[in-house]
């Protein structure tokens, strides 16, 4: 600790001309941090000049019995962790560790991408269905998961407007109204003749692969006729547009089949965000079409909820975790055997939905000053809930949407809608009111609970606070 010049100590001592001493009420309220800013500053100003009151406050504080051990620690010499270089060093080490973890994570993902791109690009020379038949479906699934971008970002508002225009032109996109088709047109328009043909082929191959992943049996049946044809692109439109009629009948039929499972591309898009999950699936078996359609609907609903966060671009840690959870769900559903029923898929979707709902439930805590605080972002930030002025809350019970908060002088608040509305409860039993400080609140369910006060009373309710009895 750096020493101040001795003259400072001398002047501090000689400048001490304390006025009237604050009474014990003010000093005890100061020690308990119950004074307002003005009163606190006034008391501190007096303490700075009055050795007697400093001694009194220090003795009273030590007598709290909370920190007699702490005061015995020789604290005049700061510990090694208070050395600034080491503190900053610890922070730097944390940053390095996190950075390394993130880098490793991202390095691990691109390892598969060139591999997948090389293999999937092969159909530029040979029909995609050959590739599809020669590969194990699970392996294909892996590559698709690594290859397909998570979103289809439009590069400008002009692109977005153009996309809308193109989507309205049935012939121009061969009836495709999906985003991939629109992006194809946009990229072709932007890059002109320089646009890599391999990219188009790869995307076509991807689209074909997707259809095989979702309904491999159907595609295999038609692979012979389409073996030499360019890879068709899945279309979500249930009815083939006029432009589609120019293709061969076989191709049209195949496209028609594919169109029934068109939205499955959305499922794969989700998997693409967590390839490590997809690689864990041993093999992908064809799924019952009805079940797939069901799961697709559920996932569309899920993705509709999460779309804004994804379109932002950069994913935060929480988003990544959520996506990992989604990928897990999706993987489980993709690896579902052929006998999986639509109901099972539906239940899984509901579970994932309920998990998402649970994570959005607010969290509750009490601040050291006795304020009630709520967090709606899993504890990253906390907002104080202004329930009552001057009340120091000491006990809290949160049971889903049922929140109880108890404080000094018998103040008890209850909310049954996760903090939207609060009601002050005044427990009364046999003509007596609960007046002591509430130090504990326990509720096993919304009806049955116990409130303990500082004078060792237990107030029990079994009807959600309507009536009470004292023990």
């Amino acid at each position: 600790m750096e020493q101040v010049p001795k003259i400072v100590q001398q002047r501090l001592r000689s400048a001490a001309r304390p006025g009237a001493h604050p009474d014990a009420n003010m000093l005890s309220a100061f020690s308990e941090k119950l004074l307002g800013e003005g009163d606190r500053t006034q008391v501190l100003g007096h303490l700075a000049e009055c050795a007697v009151c400093r001694e009194t406050v220090a003795l009273a504080n030590a007598a709290k019995g909370e920190a007699p051990e702490a005061s015995a620690v020789p604290a005049a010499r700061p510990g090694w962790l208070t050395w600034p270089a080491l503190r900053w060093g610890a922070l730097a080490a944390c940053v390095v560790v996190v950075g390394t973890a993130v880098t490793l994570h991202y390095e691990w993902r691109p390892e598969e991408r060139p591999h997948a791109a090389a293999e999937i690009s092969a159909p530029a020379a040979s029909p995609p269905t050959v590739l599809l038949e020669s590969r194990d479906a699970g392996e294909l699934h892996e590559k698709l998961a690594a290859k397909i971008p998570p979103t289809l970002p439009y590069q400008s508002e002009r692109d977005r407007a153009m996309a809308g225009k193109l989507a309205r032109e049935p012939g121009a996109t061969n009836g495709r109204t999906d985003d991939y088709a629109v992006m194809d047109r946009l990229q072709a328009g932007r890059a002109g003749a320089n646009a890599p043909a391999a990219d188009q082929v790869t995307r076509n191959a991807l689209a074909n692969s997707i259809s095989v992943t979702a309904g491999a049996a159907n595609v295999r049946q038609k692979a012979g006729g389409a073996a030499s044809a360019p890879a068709p692109v899945p279309s979500p439109a249930p009815v083939s547009p006029p432009g589609a009629k120019t293709a061969g009948a076989e191709e049209a039929k195949q496209r028609d089949d594919v169109s029934k499972v068109g939205p499955v591309t959305e499922t794969v898009t989700v998997e693409a965000e967590a390839p490590q999950m997809a690689t864990e699936s041993p093999s992908v078996k064809p799924v019952d079409k009805s079940a797939v359609n069901k799961s697709v609907k559920d996932k569309e609903a899920n993705q509709a909820q999460k779309a804004p966060a994804r379109m932002v671009g950069g994913m935060g840690l929480a988003d990544r975790k959520a996506d990992m959870a989604r990928a897990e769900t999706t993987t489980a559903e993709t690896t579902t055997p052929l006998t999986t029923t639509a109901e099972t898929v539906s239940v899984q979707s509901k579970k994932s939905m309920s998990r998402a709902g649970a994570s959005a439930a607010p969290r509750w805590t009490l601040s050291p000053e006795g304020g009630l605080q709520r967090s709606i972002d899993s504890g990253r930030t906390w907002q104080t809930v202004p329930l009552a002025q001057g009340v120091v809350f000491r006990a809290l019970a949160a049971n889903d949407a049922d929140i109880w908060a108890g404080g000094n002088a018998g103040v008890l608040y209850h909310s049954s809608d996760a903090g939207q509305h609060w009601t002050q409860i005044t427990p009364r039993a046999g003509g007596r009111l609960l007046a002591g400080d509430i130090i504990a609140v326990e509720f096993a369910d919304p009806q049955h609970g116990k409130v303990t006060t500082s004078n060792h009373e237990s107030w029990i309710t079994s009807d959600g606070g309507q009536s009470w009895r004292v023990e």
Binding site: M1, E2, Q3, V4, P5, K6, I7, Q9, Q10, L12, R13, A15, D23, A24, N25, S28, A29, F30, S31, E32, L34, L35, L44, G45, A48, E49, A51, V52, R54, E55, T56, V57, A58, L59, A60, N61, A62, A63, K64, G65, A67, A70, S71, V73, A75, A76, P78, L81, T82, A388, Q389, G390, V391, A409, G410, L433, A435, G436, D437, N455
Partner: protein, 314 residues
């Protein structure tokens, strides 16, 4: 039985009947009437609020009070038997515990607790009425915290009284027989240094002056200061480091403004002979066992003879 402290007073709480009724309901049943309780609140508002305080300020003050403990204390002061029963059940053991923490010695602790208990009960009389110390509790903090503070005040007063009456025998036992007065070295300090220091100190916020006084004058540990201000120990450590640096810098700047050169200002701060004594003490503490005669002042040499040395050092 007395009614001290609960006489009805018309005052700032006159327009807040509903608030007072609500608080009265929360105050518990210790034998106080609503009128008595209202008079207590009036007395507290008169004590802490300015005369022109708005009803809102008054209501906020009332809401911040520990009304249940306030009613208990005032009912005890008024001699209500039931209140005394509750008070004894809640605080009797705590009183002795607190005294033990403060006095650190059993007999002294018991004596201290008994003395305070007598004051709380009201052994003194004023105008023929028993006066209880509990009638001065206003509910701004907890009753237990108030009891701690009152006991600490009592202990400090006793300690100061005893210190003034210390006998020569005790001085002998302490190894300070015929101890001569130990004057500070008479060094003429440039008045500009004093003025500059006073200016810088007075510009500090009260909290920082409190930290400086607690650490440098009272010799308190960081953890103790942190406990009083309810912050972490490292916060106090950081503040002290920062304060020591900024104080030196500000005093130097002030001295330069008062006409000193930078070098003169630094010398005026560095050559203070009392700084030399501090360094020599630290050195002695490191190089020898605990001193048999603590606080003995070392000799000092002229400050302009190079590095800081003393006749006792190597």
């Amino acid at each position: 039985m007395t009614n001290h402290g609960v006489q009805p007073i018309a005052g700032p709480a006159a327009g807040l009947e509903s608030v007072m009724t609500e608080l009265f309901q929360k105050s518990g049943d210790f034998g106080l009437s609503r009128e008595q309780f209202g008079a207590i609140l009036n007395e507290i508002a008169t004590k802490y609020l300015p005369t022109d305080a708005s009803p809102r300020e008054t209501a906020e003050l009332f809401a911040s009070l520990r009304v249940e403990e306030l009613a208990l204390a005032r009912a005890c002061a008024a001699g209500q038997e039931r209140a005394w029963e509750v008070f004894m059940a809640r605080y009797r053991e705590k009183l002795y515990d607190i005294a033990g923490y403060i006095a650190r010695e059993n007999s002294a602790a018991r004596e201290l607790a008994d003395s305070l208990y007598a004051d709380l009960y009201g052994t003194t009389t004023r105008e023929g009425q028993r006066v209880s110390k509990l009638s001065s509790y206003t509910g701004r903090g907890s009753l237990e915290g108030w009891l701690r503070t009152v006991m600490a005040q009592e202990f400090v007063n006793r300690y100061r009284r005893q210190r003034r009456l210390v006998s020569l025998d005790e001085e002998n036992e302490d190894g300070a027989q015929f101890a001569a007065a130990d004057p500070e070295p008479t060094v003429a300090v440039d008045p500009r240094v004093e003025t500059a220091t006073d200016e810088v100190l007075s510009s500090l916020p009260p909290e920082e002056r409190f930290i400086l006084a607690s650490y440098y004058l009272d010799g308190r540990k960081l953890a103790e200061i942190a406990g009083i201000l309810a912050v972490h120990e490292s916060t106090i450590s950081r503040k002290l480091d920062k304060l020591a640096k900024s104080l030196r810098k500000q005093i130097l700047t002030s001295l330069v403004k008062k006409g000193m050169s930078r070098r003169q200002a630094e010398e005026a701060l560095q050559v203070d002979v009392r700084d030399l004594s501090v360094n020599i003490r630290e050195r002695m503490a490191q190089e020898s066992s605990p001193a048999a005669f603590p606080d003995k002042k070392p000799e000092v040499r002229a400050p302009d003879s190079g590095p800081r040395t003393s006749g006792l050092g190597p």
